[in-house]
Symmetry: C2
Subunit: 356 residues, 2 copies
């Protein structure tokens, strides 16, 4: 692999290829982000749309890193830049509070996703993040179409584009291609506009193991982000019922579906209309889409199900298992360090064996 100088310069502790853990809302804890970066990946903390705990989560990450005995501990000590990133859901996140937390803790990356209306909504984010960290916090922007990639690249000059395909779990564009066609078409569209050499692409959506990583590199990505794989991870802040359902589900294109039902039953109604979310099919979905149940009734049943705890997850239950089509490739829960090491090694071996 031609090392991507931009990514490698920014994150010199990372192994090649670069594996990031996605900033999954409520799940990507400080412990998970630090474990991934300690293992030679790039961990992202969930900032989400409610950033009220962002400062304390970043402080927790800083303490974990200070107490560790690793490359990133030394790097943090010498640079003052936290070797983990933070992900925002920009349609809802409060800008001043977010900037205050970033200014104080200086994460190495801010992953922006989901402007309320247009890419221009992200302008103040990019400018303020760069201003308060002297451009040390790199700007990652997630896109799901060629049009978005071009618009963001031209308007915001991001440091990294996260190119998310239709297999992804959780939220993304309702209308999208998988990374099989999306990554190359984005690569070509940026190259035509002389933007590509400046902006590394990180592929996301359906990448679960080294085969997916190797494929992503072949398609033109410089690194990958994985969400679903890290749901089954010791450090993930996730209910046991949720994790058990991730381990159970198989045939990911059949057992998952993109829908807005899972937001509606939980009363999360502020996602811009162009997004939906992929999750494992359960009773909430079947009742709504096949049974015509109203959101109100479905929500009451969801609230009741919450009281069941871990048994509230599953195909015949109602709690939401957001996960991508790669869920069928996730078969055991492992420490984050093992996941990063396995995936990097498998990607390297896969490519070594494929020399034609």
């Amino acid at each position: 692999m031609p090392p991507n100088s931009a990514l490698q310069l920014a994150y010199p502790w990372t192994r090649t290829p670069l594996v990031a853990s996605a900033p999954m809302l409520n799940i990507a804890s400080a412990a998970l982000a630090v474990a991934v970066s300690t293992a030679g990946g790039l961990g992202f903390l969930a900032g989400g749309f409610d950033v009220s705990t962002l400062g304390s989560n970043l402080e927790e990450a800083a303490q974990l890193i200070k107490k560790s005995d690793s490359t990133i501990q030394r790097r943090y000590a010498s640079t003052g830049i936290l070797p983990i990133g933070v992900g925002f859901l920009n349609w809802g996140a409060d800008l001043p509070k977010s900037i205050a937390a970033i200014k104080e803790h200086r994460p190495c990356a801010a992953w922006l996703f989901g402007p309320k209306t247009t890419p221009d909504d992200l302008h103040p984010w990019v400018e303020e993040v760069r201003a308060v960290t002297d451009r040390k916090t790199k700007i990652w922007v997630q896109v799901g179409s060629v049009a978005e990639a071009v618009a963001i690249a031209e308007a915001l000059d991001p440091d990294v584009l996260v190119v998310q395909g239709s297999d992804a779990g959780g939220h993304g564009l309702a209308r999208s291609a998988s990374i099989i066609t999306l990554v190359p078409e984005v690569q070509d569209a940026l190259a035509v506009r002389k933007l590509k050499q400046e902006i590394p692409l990180v592929a996301a959506g359906g990448i679960v193991d080294g085969r997916g990583v190797a494929a992503s590199l072949a398609l033109g990505a410089s690194g990958v982000a994985m969400g679903t794989r890290f749901l089954a991870c010791s450090e993930a802040q996730i209910a046991r019922g949720y994790q058990a359902e991730v381990l159970r589900a198989s045939d990911g294109g059949v057992c998952t579906v993109r829908s807005t039902v899972y937001d509606r039953v939980r009363g999360i109604l502020s996602w811009p209309g162009r997004y939906d979310g992929r999750g494992v099919i359960n009773k909430s979905y079947v009742d709504a889409v096949e049974g015509g149940m109203s959101d109100e009734e479905n929500r009451v049943l969801y609230q009741k199900e919450l009281k069941k705890g871990d048994s509230g997850w599953g195909p015949n239950a109602r709690l939401t298992t957001y996960a991508g089509t790669g869920v069928g490739l996730v078969r055991e829960a492992l420490p984050a360090a093992n996941i990063v090491a396995d995936v990097v090694e498998e990607a390297q071996n896969t490519l070594q064996h494929l020399r034609l």
Copy 2:
């Protein structure tokens, strides 16, 4: 790449990696199939659901091969096996007529797709094809989920599984993952059941150039099938308006959609319910899905549009442009030989440059 002995033994004239042209209904002509095989790929002729012209199309292919001066001409002369394959839509194709044509012309592969109900419907096809060609015609079966792959592998002992992901153009399972997760999950499911070493996987769905081919190999495929790329091909039997729309369309995840509308407006109502088809969004789709237009009214408008000829295609017109999400990567019409050569060379180069 570890050469796949089963594929290489069966089709020794093909280059590595193996590139097949898909048996696109009404489009994959004898000229296209022969051009692809002559160039070192594996061309498939469309058998479809109405096999009344299959015999004459195979005869045309045989004549083209006899007149050519190429490796496959010599191979055909020495073996009597036509170095092209035939694809069937098995929910509608007549078995005795198909077997008669196969017995007479002995194509090197029969690609089965779309049993009316269960995999068992394909049993007589597999047995009769093998019986009349002494197993010289290899059995390819197209699947779109892990469950289908396992069921077909266990029930039919196919020679090749075509694993089609959600990015594919034209017909496929309405509920599916892209090949990013589908190919590895199928590979693992077969390996667990000790079936994998016997059955090479051919990936399909979103593969348009050498990057997609290299990615497919990384995911576990031994070869690929491309449909959309060969729509923009000199030898394709395709209206100029259709081809122009393929060249125009971009941002393939946004401009295409999976739907049954395009069948309904054309009065093709016999596809089993689990399938739909991906095509470029046009007025038929918008009127039906966003405007609530009835199929009857939509069909009348479609029939009128047919009289416009080539101007009947496009986003503001009504004739069907079946194409996959890779349509945005198709930018020029080329002879089939150039497509095969470019794709094989780009795949090889991509993998060479990705050694980690």
